[in-house]
């Protein structure tokens, strides 16, 4: 461990605004890009389910 306590860790040797915003920005943007296809896949699977249900209904009628 490089830092001896939490305050020191959060202060980042006086560079806190720069270091923390660089890491926060990276995690936010990476998170958005990574989560987008997961949500899209869920949406697509729901649509596909609905489509299949419709087809089944048509077949039974």
């Amino acid at each position: 461990m490089h830092f001896s306590n939490w305050q020191e860790f959060l202060a980042m040797g006086g560079y806190a605004p720069f270091v923390w915003s660089a890491f926060a920005l990276t995690l936010i943007i990476l998170g958005i890009v990574l989560v987008t296809p997961v949500l899209r896949r869920r949406q697509l699977l729901r649509q596909l389910q609905r489509l299949e249900r419709l087809r089944e209904q048509e077949n039974t009628q």
């Binding site: 490089h2 006086g14 270091v19 915003s21 660089a22 920005l25 943007i29 990574l34 596909l48």
Partner: protein
């Protein structure tokens, strides 16, 4: 007979390996990719966690830059991948363009969002590092400018896909832009050697031994691997969605 043999040989020479054609089958691709994604995503997330803690809390501070140097752990992986993903995007675009493999064109297109995100982050984290170290957020020097051009190439590549009514033409136009834009990649890499620039020279991606202490290098390599794995998973997840989208369009001719 010798004529047929010659013509088959000629045809064979321009063929890609069989597994690449097998990949072009949507059902085979979906099954294969579904199995590969967890092997990229889970180690990627674990390594990201390890790399963040290691880089932020355990790596020693730089003797000149203090703790501001820790920005390296997000700056270098995003910068390296902004170029690496571009190369993957251009190569798959080329394969899609020349051999008309739609799946290659799709993979190429899905490289763009994560590639553009990495380029933007390389620029943004670079600015956040530049302000305390150089005293300025931005300078129009060779490294920064060529990286900014890379961002415009990604944005142009994405915009071209949408610019035509026929998506096939859009995909081909974008592929040509991606291939022409490859010229920018060596320019970015060598910019710090070819021109006088405020940006420091290479410390890791060079032929000699990396000029960075191992205690600082290891977390960087962990972060680089994490970003690479997550990027690959992202491209495959997006492509898998495209395959699913096609199943929702029963009128399509394929």
């Amino acid at each position: 007979m010798s004529q047929t043999a010659a013509s088959t040989r000629r045809r064979k020479r321009f063929k890609l390996p069989l597994w690449m054609y097998k990949l072009a089958s949507p059902a085979y691709f979906d099954r294969l990719v579904g199995r590969i994604i967890p092997w990229l995503l889970i180690p990627g997330l674990v390594l990201l966690g390890i790399g963040l803690v290691w880089g932020l809390a355990f790596a020693p501070a730089d003797y000149q830059q203090g703790d501001s140097f820790r920005i390296i752990y997000v700056h270098v992986p995003t910068a390296a991948l902004s170029m690496g993903i571009y190369m993957a995007m251009a190569i798959t675009a080329g394969i899609g363009l020349i051999w008309r493999i739609r799946l290659a064109a799709l993979v190429s297109r899905n490289c763009a969002p994560i590639g553009a995100a990495c380029t933007f982050l390389a620029l943004a984290t670079g600015a956040l590092w530049g302000k305390p170290m150089w005293g300025t957020w931005w300078v129009w020097d060779a490294r920064l400018t060529s990286e900014l051009i890379l961002l415009f190439l990604y944005l142009g590549y994405m915009a071209l896909h949408e610019a035509f009514e026929d998506p096939e033409i859009g995909s081909r136009a974008a592929a040509i832009l991606a291939l022409v834009g490859v010229i920018n990649i060596p320019i970015i890499h060598y910019s710090v050697e070819w021109w006088h620039t405020l940006h420091q020279g290479a410390t890791i991606f060079k032929l000699d031994k990396p000029s960075i202490a191992p205690s600082m290098l290891w977390p960087l390599l962990v972060m680089l691997l994490a970003f690479a794995l997550l990027s690959a998973a992202n491209v495959l997840m997006r492509t898998r969605n495209n395959v699913l989208e096609r199943r929702l369009q029963p009128d399509d001719d394929e």
